[in-house]
C-alpha cells in the first residue's frame, strides 16, 4: 500500500513537472503574447497541483484563484488593450540572445548541481506533517505573522491608489 502511494506520488510529480517545464518554455518562446499568457496559466495550475502534493491545500487554492484567476486576467486585459505588434529587433546588445541562453544554462546547471547534491533533512512521512489547511494557516497568520498581515493590507491600499493615479487619463 505504501509502495503504491510512493509510486503514485512520483508519477504525479513527474507528470506535472514535465508539463510545467514545457509550459514555462512556451511562455518565453511563443511569439503571440496571448499564447504566452495561456502557457503561464498552465504553469500556475501545474504548480497548484504540486502544492496539493506537498500538503498545502489552502496555498494551492489561493494560487489558482489569485494567479490564474486574477493576475492572468489582468495580463490578458492589458494584452488585448495594447494589441502589441510582433517584436522587432533582438535587443540592445549584439548576441544578446546567445549570451542570455548561455548564462541561463550556466545558472540552471549551477543550481541543479548544488541542490541535487545537498544534504537535506530526512523525509518526514506525510501522516506526521501538519497539513496546511485553512484553520492552521489562519492561526499562524493571526498570531505569529500578524504584523506582516497588517502591512500587507497597507500595501494593497497603496497599490490600489497607485494604479488609479497611474492609469487615469490626464483631464486637460
Amino acid at each position: 500500500m505504501l509502495r503504491c502511494i510512493i509510486i503514485m506520488e512520483l508519477i504525479i510529480f513527474y507528470l506535472f513537472a514535465a508539463i510545467a517545464v514545457i509550459a514555462a518554455l512556451g511562455v518565453i518562446a511563443l511569439r503571440n503574447p496571448v499564447h504566452s499568457a495561456l502557457a503561464l496559466a498552465l504553469v500556475f495550475v501545474c504548480l497548484g497541483a504540486m502544492y496539493v502534493l506537498l500538503n498545502a491545500p489552502f496555498i494551492a487554492a489561493a494560487q489558482v484563484m489569485i494567479y490564474a484567476g486574477a493576475i492572468l486576467i489582468l495580463f490578458l486585459f492589458v494584452i488585448m488593450l495594447l494589441a502589441p505588434e510582433p517584436e522587432s529587433g533582438a535587443g540592445a546588445l549584439r548576441f544578446q540572445r546567445a549570451f542570455a541562453i548561455i548564462f541561463g544554462g550556466v545558472l540552471v546547471l549551477q543550481l541543479v548541481a548544488v541542490l541535487g547534491n545537498a544534504v537535506l533533512p530526512a523525509n518526514i512521512p506525510s501522516a506526521v506533517t501538519t497539513s496546511g489547511d485553512v484553520y492552521a494557516i489562519g492561526r499562524k497568520l493571526f498570531t505569529d505573522f500578524l504584523l506582516p498581515f497588517e502591512i500587507t493590507s497597507l500595501l494593497l491600499l497603496v497599490a490600489m491608489v497607485g494604479v488609479i493615479v497611474l492609469a487615469k487619463r490626464k483631464s486637460e
Binding site: I6, V108, T129
Partner: protein
C-alpha cells in the same frame, strides 16, 4: 518523494524565467517571466515547509502571493501609461527618463 526533486524543478523554472527576462523585448512577456520566477520561489518555500514540518513557509508564500498581485497591478498600470506616452511596446525604446 525526496525534497531534491522539488528544489531542482524550482531551479529549472527560475532559470527559465531569468532567460525570459533577458531575451524578450515586450514588457508584458518580461513581466510574465518575473511572475514565473516568483512562482518558482514559492514552490521552494512550500517544499521546505512540508519537509521541515513547519507552516511558516506556507504563510510566507501567502504573503508573497499578495505582494505579487499588487506588483502586477502597478506594473501593468505603468506599462499602460508608457504605451500611452510612446505608442510602442519595446523595452529598448524606453531608454530616456523624460516621459
Amino acid at each position: 518523494m525526496p525534497l531534491n526533486h522539488f528544489l531542482i524543478l524550482s531551479a529549472i523554472l527560475f532559470s527559465i524565467g531569468a532567460i525570459g527576462v533577458l531575451i524578450r523585448r515586450n514588457p508584458l512577456i518580461l513581466f510574465m517571466s518575473i511572475e514565473l520566477m516568483l512562482n518558482a520561489v514559492n514552490l521552494t518555500f512550500v517544499a521546505f515547509s512540508r519537509y521541515l514540518g513547519n507552516l511558516d513557509g506556507q504563510v510566507f508564500v501567502f504573503l508573497v502571493l499578495t505582494v505579487a498581485a499588487a506588483e502586477v497591478a502597478i506594473g501593468l498600470a505603468l506599462i499602460v501609461a508608457m504605451f500611452r506616452a510612446r505608442a510602442t511596446v519595446n523595452v529598448d525604446e524606453a531608454n530616456s527618463l523624460k516621459g
